[in-house]
C-alpha cells in the first residue's frame, strides 16, 4: 500500500537527501537531550549552521535577486505561463523600448562617467559577489564580469 503511494508521486520529489544542508536542517538541535554523564562534542557544527542560514536577508541577497530579475528573459516564458509578463514584453518591444532608449543611454553614459576612476568600488562589489557565491554554494552561477575572469 505504502509502496504504491510512493510510486504515484509524479509532482512530488520523494528522493531522500544526503545534502549536508538538508541533514543539518533535519537533525541539528533536534532530538532528546539526556543527562550529565553524556559527553557532547560538537566541533564544527556551529559553523555549518551559520553557513546554511546566512544567505537570507542581506545586501548580497538583494543583489542576487536583482541580478536574477534582470536576467529573466520574459520573452521565453513557457506557453503555459505566458500571460501578462509575455504581453508586457511584447509591448516593450513594439513601442516602449524605442521611446525610452535614448533617455536610458543618456543615463548610462552619465553614470559611467561618474564611475570612471573609481575602480575600488567595482572591485568591492566583485568581492561581495564572490563571498556570496561561496556562502550559498548550493547554486553556483556563472558571472560574466571581468573581475571574475581576472581571478582565474
Amino acid at each position: 500500500m505504502v509502496t504504491v503511494a510512493s510510486q504515484q508521486s509524479q509532482y512530488l520529489d520523494r528522493a531522500s537527501s544526503s545534502a549536508l544542508v538538508d541533514v543539518v536542517d533535519l537533525i541539528l538541535d533536534k532530538g532528546l537531550v539526556i543527562d550529565v554523564y553524556v559527553r557532547v562534542s560538537l566541533v564544527g557544527i556551529e559553523i555549518l549552521t551559520i553557513d546554511a542560514r546566512i544567505v537570507v536577508a542581506s545586501v548580497d541577497t538583494y543583489l542576487r535577486f536583482a541580478e536574477a530579475t534582470n536576467r529573466l528573459d520574459l520573452a521565453r516564458s513557457g506557453t503555459e505561463t505566458k500571460g501578462l509578463p509575455g504581453l508586457m514584453d511584447e509591448m516593450q518591444e513594439s513601442g516602449g523600448r524605442k521611446k525610452t532608449k535614448g533617455a536610458l543611454e543618456g543615463v548610462k553614459d552619465t553614470v559611467s562617467d561618474l564611475l570612471q576612476g573609481d575602480e575600488s568600488d567595482e572591485d568591492e562589489a566583485g568581492e561581495r559577489e564572490e563571498t556570496r557565491r561561496r556562502e550559498s554554494g548550493d547554486r553556483p552561477r556563472h558571472r560574466r564580469s571581468s573581475s571574475r575572469e581576472r581571478e582565474r
Binding site: V21, L32, S77, T81
Partner: protein, 260 residues
C-alpha cells in the same frame, strides 16, 4: 587503544523487539568501520556504536550517519526516539545500567505516544524564474527598476539593484506568508501535529514537519502530491519520510503532555 578511550555513541531508543539487521550494515558516526548495534534492557533497546574519544565528532559524514541510522529504523517501523547528535556515554554498561534503567519510564511514555507515528518533512521552494515572473506581473515598480537597470552597465545602478532586490524579496516574503498557510491548510488535517521553520534560503517557501499516523499516511502523501501538482512549475516540493520524529520526540517525552 585503551578501554578508557572508547565510548558508546547513542543514536536513540527503540523497542527491544527491533532487529539489529536494520542498522548493522550502516556506517557509524565517528568510525565508518564500527558496527551499529542494539543494546537491550527492560523492554527497550538503545541504538549504539563504538567511538574513540581521540577526535571530535561533527564532520558532515558524522551528521549523515546519525540521520541515516535513525531514518533507516523509522522507515521500517515506528516508534524511534532520536537522540540529539553528539550523544556519547562511557560504555555499554552505562547504556544499560544508567541510560536505559534510569530513563525507562520516560522512554516508555514517549515510545507509547509515538507508536504507529512517523515524521514527514516537507521542503517547499519557489522555482526562481516562475516566482520572479509573478512579482514582475504584480509589481509595476519592479518592472520600472528592471527597465532602468537594463540600460546601465553592470558596475552602475548599485542603488537601483539594491532597491529592486529588496522589493522582490519583500514581495516573495508576502507570498511566503500566504503560501505557508496553504501548506498547513492542505496537510494539517492529515497529521497529528506540525512544526514549521523559516526556510534557510531566500527562495525557500517553508520547511514543515508533520507527525503522521500510519493509517493516515496514504492520505497525507496524496494531499502532498496534490499540492505539488497544484503548484507545479511554481513551487518545488520535496517530501522526506517516514523519518525519525526529530521535531516531536521532545514533546512526547514531556511528562506534562497527556497522551491522546
Amino acid at each position: 587503544m585503551t578501554e578508557d578511550e572508547r565510548a558508546c555513541y547513542v543514536y536513540g531508543v527503540v523497542p527491544e523487539e527491533r532487529s539489529d539487521d536494520a542498522v548493522r550494515d550502516l556506517g557509524a558516526v565517528g568510525d565508518p568501520d564500527a558496527t551499529v548495534t542494539l543494546v537491550r534492557h527492560g523492554g527497550q533497546a538503545a541504538v549504539v556504536s563504538e567511538v574513540t574519544l581521540d577526535k571530535p565528532l561533527g564532520t558532515p559524514e558524522d551528521l549523515r550517519a546519525h540521520a541515516r541510522v535513525l531514518d533507516s529504523l523509522a522507515a521500517k517501523a515506528s516508534p524511534v526516539l532520536p537522540f540529539r547528535f553528539g550523544t556519547v556515554v562511557r560504555g555499554i554498561t552505562a547504556v544499560t545500567d544508567e541510560l536505559l534503567a534510569e530513563g525507562h519510564d520516560d522512554f516508555e511514555r514517549a515510545l507509547d505516544r509515538l507508536r504507529g507515528r512517523s515524521q514527514f518533512t516537507l521542503r517547499a521552494r519557489y522555482v526562481q524564474d516562475a516566482v520572479l515572473r509573478e512579482v514582475l506581473t504584480e509589481q509595476p515598480e519592479a518592472v520600472r527598476l528592471r527597465e532602468e537597470l537594463q540600460g546601465l552597465p553592470e558596475e552602475a545602478g548599485y542603488d537601483q539593484r539594491i532597491q529592486l532586490g529588496q522589493l522582490v524579496m519583500d514581495a516573495i516574503a508576502a507570498k511566503r506568508a500566504v503560501d505557508a498557510l496553504e501548506v498547513d491548510r492542505r496537510l494539517g488535517p492529515c497529521a497529528l501535529g506540525s512544526v514549521s521553520t523559516e526556510p534557510s534560503s531566500a527562495e525557500g517557501l517553508v520547511n514543515a514537519s508533520f507527525l503522521v499516523e500510519d493509517e493516515r499516511r496514504t492520505a497525507f502523501e496524496q494531499a502532498a502530491e496534490e499540492l505539488a501538482k497544484h503548484w507545479s512549475g511554481r513551487v518545488r516540493i520535496r517530501l522526506l519520510g517516514p523519518l525519525a520524529p526529530y521535531d516531536f520526540v521532545a514533546d512526547a517525552m514531556s511528562p506534562a503532555k497527556e497522551g491522546d
